[in-house]
Subunit: 345 residues, 2 copies
């Protein structure tokens, strides 16, 4: 096979503060033919996720290295195998992997890929409810917070790819679910589709004190479980309302990712002591070994349509930057995905 | 039996900010004879503990109600039974309990008391290494942080009643122990007696950045476990240096207990996410059911003198306020106790 040309998205420079589409550019790269134990893949859908912002800082020590300015960006994708020298993968196989995003074609070693079960769900669902965000939500619920029947679960970023699954898995366990999101349409979806008990539009509250008051009214017996996606006043309000023996799954703090100045933490951490609270930060890869257990619960719920999910689609690789930037402006309902290539023939 | 007179310590008013001896006063109270299923006890030693500051705020919802201005203060004590209508207790029995502090005589229902094993250790040890502070330290080590051989354990307030036990239980489990305390004498004791690997005098560091630098040098492989007694810059430095999979036992934040203004929390909580850190606030009563297991490990270490402990003794009930205030000025080495009455005949 000969080399292929691929449009690929690069960072022009590391963003300062809020990222803008102008921080990104598309360049044409050359994708070599598959070598020994390699395959070439064609990206169909790509994912944009908040954690990627952390990889756009050259100076931060994290669980994953920063993006280079000299290579295409990378991220989750659904792709089709178009050449293969890997025994387990044949041309035409559909896969989900961790590196195929932000480009049309790429070479894969097959080490961070999984085959997709055909026709189980629309392809982008493998980047959302059936993929990394779904496993993240499931792990936070089942491995960290463990909500019990009748307990109250508060979820911030509740209409997003992760939060929306947390809400529904919480309801299925008999919890009272209080959700926070940032638009009337998201609030409507959370109440009518996800079935939460109370949905708060956080934009109605100017500060942590106001949000605390609303949360205390929504959770009159206190918050037993908190799933943290947002940080800032959400975390402070949750810690104000957390009950004795509370459990907090710390998944993200998206409100802080674009800070250019140091933002103080909540002043009420001492509550964690007197109330015997456990707070557990986590990254989804810690729970990779639970993926089968996750799929065993969630895939049937997807097939039976007992779990609802939304996605916001952007059409074309040249919209990828917009999709990513939209994450930080609350513009995406549910999972944000970008169509990069045509569905398989 | 007739009524007894007792000197007892009362709060004159709830302290604003740093407490002072002038916030306290001794009044004479009348202790009635023991009723049915009651006993009268004579206090020999009393304990002062940082948590008591939290009970001196009338407006805070906590795991334990605020002190009343109309009753004597209460707290841990070693006492002798002088009258008893309780079958399990006889005159002359020595007990440790949760309410006998801050007074000479009191009536007890026997519900929050334990008999002391005679001659196992000096009596005040039942308020320290063998008592509530010892159980607190043991629970943080064995139930929360679970340090492994070769891991690094950072302890703030390390020369105190709780911290000094944490250091030594950590060393016994093969951890590298980095301790922080606030005087050259405490630093010497930690190195020479408690056997820690590194002892930092936090007063040498002006802010979290400086303490972080020192901690990073003392813990070149990162902090795996953090036992939190202090808050403020200690917590921020610990979160800067915490490693992947770190565990934090949040026991106290004494630097903040007398704040009159809101003090922001650490700005680096997002590290807990990327590093998969578990932070668990706790109060010792959660682990009351582990008291036998605790005693099984720690009592033999006390008898064999394999665990070292210090105590700072104040002589007389009229020094109780000084002992308590001293907690917040770093004046007490190890456990602070007050002699209230004579040893048993």
């Amino acid at each position: 096979m000969s080399d292929r040309k691929s449009k690929s998205v690069f960072l022009k420079a590391y963003p300062q503060g809020m990222p803008a589409a102008s921080d990104f550019e598309i360049r044409e790269t050359t994708v070599p033919a598959a070598g020994a134990n390699e395959m070439v893949c064609r990206t169909i859908w790509m994912s944009v996720d908040p954690y990627m912002r952390g990889r756009m800082r050259p100076d931060v020590k994290s669980y994953i290295p920063p993006f280079s300015l000299d290579e295409p960006l990378a991220g989750g994708a659904v792709a089709e195998v178009v050449e293969s020298n890997i025994a387990d993968y044949g041309v035409g196989d559909l896969i989900v992997d961790f590196t195929g995003g932000w480009k049309e074609y790429y070479v894969s070693s097959g080490e961070r890929t999984q085959k997709i079960i055909p026709n189980l769900a629309p392809l982008p669902a493998w980047l959302g409810v059936l993929g990394m965000p779904g496993l993240t939500a499931w792990a936070g619920v089942t491995q960290i917070m463990k909500p019990k029947e009748g307990e109250t679960l508060f979820v911030s970023g509740a209409a997003g790819a992760v939060g929306s699954v947390v809400c529904q898995l919480g309801k299925m366990r008999g919890a009272r679910v209080v959700a926070s999101a940032g638009s009337p349409e998201k609030i409507r979806w959370l109440k009518e589709e996800a079935g939460v008990d109370v949905a708060l539009n956080y934009k109605d509250y100017k500060n942590a004190a106001e949000l605390t008051k609303a949360l205390a009214e929504a959770a009159p017996n206190g918050v037993d479980c908190y799933f943290e996606n947002v940080g800032g006043m959400h975390l402070e309000a949750a810690i104000n309302c957390i009950g004795f023996g509370g459990r907090m799954a710390l998944c993200g703090m998206i409100s802080m990712y674009n800070n250019t100045e140091v933002e103080p933490g909540p002043p009420n951490l001492v509550n964690l002591i007197g109330r015997g609270v456990m707070a557990r930060g986590f990254i989804v890869s810690e729970y990779a070994d639970k993926a089968m257990e996750f799929a065993g619960e969630v895939a049937p719920l997807v097939v039976s349509k007992k779990i609802k999910f939304q996605q916001t689609e952007y059409d074309g690789l040249d919209r990828a930057a917009d999709a990513f930037v939209g994450l930080f402006h609350g513009e995406n309902a549910g999972k944000a995905v970008v169509r990069v290539g045509a569905d398989p023939a």
